[in-house]
């Protein structure tokens, strides 16, 4: 939205109301996106905060696209980079030990339904999960996802379709849908 660019310009000049409006429009879905990638509320907060700081400080050379799209790109890259780092830090070939503790997502997802949906999405393999997350929470078109992830458009569509199928299967097994 062009209005978002105006809000951003005003926020850069210190307008709290403009910033609050921008956050009302984008913060929830941005947090959901990062949370579903990282699975950690603390890192989600850090990444979203970093994303907002970058949005305020980065030079804006043109206003092609949307502020929402820019936020998605910044946040996604931060979260993915973090996920990659975490995987490199984990060593060992054995299966993951069962985690007896409640999921950290439970701290921030209050309804049982949301927790199951998050579990279904987190249950996907990375290739399918990111496409679904970018589509549903990043509000990106399939063409934009293809460009961001560096994969063909047909692959994006196929992954999206199968990601939703797998989520529905998971939720049906858990009795969340018929």
């Amino acid at each position: 939205m062009n209005e978002d660019w105006d809000l951003l310009a005003r926020a850069r000049r210190g307008d709290n109301d403009a910033w609050r409006t921008l956050m009302e429009r984008h913060h929830a879905r941005l947090s959901a996106m990062v949370l579903l990638i990282t699975g950690c509320p603390d890192r989600t907060r850090d990444h979203v905060q970093e994303c907002c700081a970058r949005l305020l400080d980065m030079p804006i050379r043109h206003q092609r696209g949307t502020v929402g799209g820019l936020l998605t790109t910044i946040a996604w890259r931060l979260a993915v980079k973090d996920s990659g780092l975490r995987k490199r830090l984990v060593s060992g070939d054995g299966p993951d030990p069962p985690d007896p503790a409640p999921s950290p997502l439970d701290q921030v997802l209050k309804s049982e339904r949301e927790r199951w949906v998050a579990a279904a999405i987190r249950h996907l393999d990375e290739a399918h999960r990111h496409v679904l997350i970018l589509r549903f929470y990043g509000d990106r078109s399939y063409a934009e996802i293809a460009k961001l992830m560096g994969i063909p458009l047909g692959t994006v569509k196929s992954r999206m379709f199968h990601a939703v199928l797998m989520c529905r299967t998971y939720l049906r097994e858990k009795g969340m849908i018929e």
Partner: protein, 131 residues
């Protein structure tokens, strides 16, 4: 009339079908009540997959220093000031040099016998800087 499968309806909702397949399903749903109902149900299910709203507080607008003018402006201003002060100071420190001006006139053959004529022939000292 044959109904559409869940997979076909799902593909339609997600917008992953090619144009002709999407058009065909769209036309079918207009005329088939069962498929239209099933489509709505699937839309609600898929809508649930994008319903997550975590309780994470939005960051406030960070306190940032006001955008200062670029550094080169300050340097340029400093150089101008130094230049001005140097020129002004130099003019105060050095004593003015007298400039002698000798007016040139076409003089009538007779020597000046009036005061004005006498004065016109005297060299005049002009001291720089004296108002």
């Amino acid at each position: 009339m044959s109904h559409r499968t869940d997979d076909e309806l799902l593909g339609f909702i997600l917008g992953v079908l090619n144009e002709s397949a999407a058009t065909e399903i769209h036309d079918h749903v207009q005329s088939c009540r069962d498929c239209a109902d099933r489509l709505r149900q699937l839309e609600i299910e898929i809508g649930g997959l994008r319903d997550i709203t975590p309780a994470v507080i939005a960051p406030p607008l960070p306190r940032r220093k006001q955008h200062a003018p670029p550094g080169w402006i300050f340097k340029a201003a400093a150089l101008l000031l130094i230049g001005f002060l140097s020129g002004f100071g130099a003019s105060q420190l050095t004593s003015p040099q007298p400039v002698t001006v000798v007016p040139q006139y076409s003089v009538p053959h007779a020597y000046p016998d009036t005061v004005a004529g006498y004065v016109a022939f005297q060299p005049v000292d002009i001291v720089a800087g004296v108002p």
